[in-house]
Symmetry: C2
Subunit: 105 residues, 2 copies
């Protein structure tokens, strides 16, 4: 099961645009103040850094990702999640589109 | 004043990707069932068709737009809105980014 909708949240109307638009997300805030984002990575190979730890949840499409310090590219598809430690990074390569929810902390 | 956040809504986690990613939006649904979307148009000149009438509200960045049947390019910036009739189209050209809320009906 993938998470198709997130209800009862506040959405930032201004998008976050990364890597010349290869990644676009919108921030969401829950009533308790928790912040997440919903976004998409388009065909590209990119490296993202983290501040807070992140959990990337695939809701549609797919990607391959490689955590900092690892040689292994791992696949993620709908319903899969992967975790990235704080102050780290990961490489991601996307062939079509990778739709995600990013959970922080 | 621009609309920075939209509270109390449900957000579709899967993005709508148009024109190879030159336009990316996420659908939102209000508790009464009203649907809108929040999105961004990246640097490009594009033509969008409408089914239902639309009101485009600029929340950040800017664009120039030209409604079907018009020769005039008009500018829209933060806080500006423009309306497109049903079953029509408009051209939009964006130099940096155009962040918007699309209201239907």
């Amino acid at each position: 099961m993938t998470t198709e909708k997130i209800a009862g949240v506040s959405v930032a109307t201004r998008a976050n645009v990364y890597f010349d638009g290869k990644c676009v997300s919108h921030g969401i805030t829950y009533p308790d103040g928790t912040q997440k984002s919903v976004g998409v990575v388009l065909p590209a190979t990119l490296t993202f850094g983290t501040g807070a730890p992140e959990i990337m949840e695939c809701v549609a499409g797919s990607c391959e990702y490689r955590l900092a310090g690892s040689d292994a590219w791992l696949a993620a598809g709908p319903g899969d999640k992967f975790s990235i430690p704080a102050n780290s990074s990961f490489d991601i390569r996307v062939a079509e589109a990778f739709h995600y929810i990013c959970h922080y902390g």
